[in-house]
Amino acid sequence: MRSSLFQELTCSSSAIWGLVYKFVCICYRSLDRIFDIIYWPVISLMLWGFTSTFVSATSSVAGVMEFFLGGAVLWSLFWRAQTDVGTFILEDFWSRNVYNMFASPITSLELFLAIAIIGFLRCVLSFAFLSLLAWLLYAFNIFHIGGLALGAFTTVLLLFGWVIGIVIAALIFRYGLRIQVLAWSVGFLIQPFSCVFYPLESMPRWVQVIAVTLPTTHVFEGLRHAIATGELAVAPLLTALGLTILLLIASLLYFHYALLQAKRLGLLTRFEMA
């Protein structure tokens, strides 16, 4: 396993270029992939925008609009990053291209770097569109929380989104298309534990135990602190970053293990015939 792990960590710029070119072509040739950059994030923004407008008008809590809309915009970034990894892997399954793709000399590192490049570009597009829409519809400017804080939060959310995406990709290689729904649904499972729209201490004790293990919880706690005080809280940010890096390493090792298992069981060739 060790020698194959080292091989999977080699990298060729031409292979990454080939994969990025494929993902770019898929994006502009497939209406689904264009649509999902804006559709769900816009639905989420409108839902929380109207909710926060109503709550602001009827409650005395300060900064409700900023908490909700800041949470909605940043959550859509995490969701976008997470689903992109799964859907770009699934594209090869849907096209019956798994055989040719994995018979070619691509490594796991090249695959994920290519997905990270295209995923980053799609996240930037989605984030820019949502930020503009939040400003136009609700006069909410997400950049008010500060460039450093925003950069730090978005970096952690992107990385953690990829962590979840890599785990889902590993599960798809191990169990096939029957679990493809995870590519879209895992985000919804994590969201209630991530304190996106409410503080950690407002949740039951047993939920808090789970919530503190998620980097997203620390990001959104930090976001509310930044909105309330105008300052970047370093401790939750470092906790989130540390957790994310640990989980990233674990997810890559799990992906490698799942791919080896799929090869041991001959699953890569069976997906093609399915």
Binding site: S3, S4, Q7, T10, S12, S14, A15, W17, G18, L19, Y21, K22, C25, I26, R29, S30, E91, D92, W94, S95, R96, N97, Y99, N100, F102, A103, S104, P105, I106, T107, L260, K263, R264, L265, G266, L268, T269, E272, M273
Partner: protein, 306 residues
């Protein structure tokens, strides 16, 4: 040193032994056939060579290097074209070939793509999405992908499946030309016996995960030693003597004046039988010797008769 050396390759799925110690060597520039019934282990062997399946044990050396530890570098110099597989359906033919050209690090990629499209007579399909192509057109695009990096080792798994006879013939010619130009080593599987016989210098005959024999097509056919001699006599001849021919030949009367002889050892029996037939005095109108074909061997292997 052979270009490809496989030693004692084994693979088991649960209780099923897919490969039971396959060993073979393929030389540089060889057109090598893998033949056998379904479940013989051909595709498992090819998929292990592509790194898509992990073998349980055994060693593989390609280009003189250990495949287990140098797989990524080795696979850059190989490629595959297989039936039943596809490329990205939403991408055009040219886009798909550019993707794989990038992955394999091909220089002058656009010129290479143009050359391949022309070689397989599908230049007009360059800007069509793959999902709208017929199976025959699709097969030729897969072949273009297989040749995109001028591979030193090319694996072709049922690659002419779905082609009409005319296009299949042109495709075989194109593959032969490519191999001559680039000195590519090709490992070829097909259920079309004539195709295997026409293209492959040597053939490994597999059955139930084992290699029965590696040899030329002519010698593989020797796995069935019997040959059939059919003799048609002039009309009106008295054939009683032929019917009761001595020497243990047991002639079968198959038509009005035609007899069939099964020769277990044709080299020694043919001369004897001809002498005896002449002695009967019956005048012969026509004779035909039928040798076993690769298909005959294939059927006997599939039925467990060899």
């Amino acid at each position: 040193m052979s270009l490809l050396e496989i030693h004692d390759l084994r693979k088991r799925y649960g209780a099923v032994d897919a490969l039971k110690g396959v060993s073979l060597a393929v030389e540089r520039g060889e057109f090598f056939g893998l033949l056998g019934p379904n479940g013989a282990g051909k595709s498992t062997t090819i998929n292990i060579l592509l790194g898509l399946i992990l073998a349980d044990s055994g060693t593989i050396r390609i280009f003189g290097e250990d495949f287990a530890t140098r797989q990524t570098a080795i696979r850059r110099r190989m490629n595959v074209a297989a039936a039943f597989t596809s490329l990205s359906g939403v991408l055009t033919v040219r886009e798909n070939l550019k993707v794989y050209g990038g992955i394999y690090g091909v220089n002058n990629l656009n010129a290479k793509i143009d050359e391949l499209l022309e070689r397989f007579e599908i230049t007009d399909l360059a800007n069509r999405k793959l999902q709208y192509l017929s199976s025959g057109q699709h097969t030729r695009v897969t072949l273009c992908k297989g040749l995109i990096n001028d591979p030193e080792l090319l694996l072709l798994d049922e690659c002419t499946l779905g082609l009409d006879p005319d296009i299949a013939e042109k495709t075989r010619r194109a593959l032969q030309e490519f191999q001559r130009e680039k000195l590519t080593t090709i490992i070829f599987t097909s259920h079309n016996m004539n195709e295997v016989e026409e293209l492959c210098g040597r053939i490994a005959f597999l059955s139930k995960g084992e290699i029965l024999r590696i040899d030329t097509a002519a010698r593989i056919k020797g796995l069935i030693p019997q040959q059939i001699l059919e003799v048609r006599f002039q009309p009106g001849e008295d054939l009683e003597a032929v019917r009761h021919l001595d020497g243990g030949f047991s002639p079968q009367h198959t038509g009005d004046s035609t007899f069939r002889f099964v020769l277990d050892e044709p080299e020694t029996q043919l001369d004897a039988i001809m002498q005896r037939l002449v002695q009967t005095g019956a005048r012969i109108a026509d004779l035909q010797m039928t040798r076993p074909t690769l298909e005959d061997v294939f059927i006997k292997v599939a039925r467990g008769e060899i």
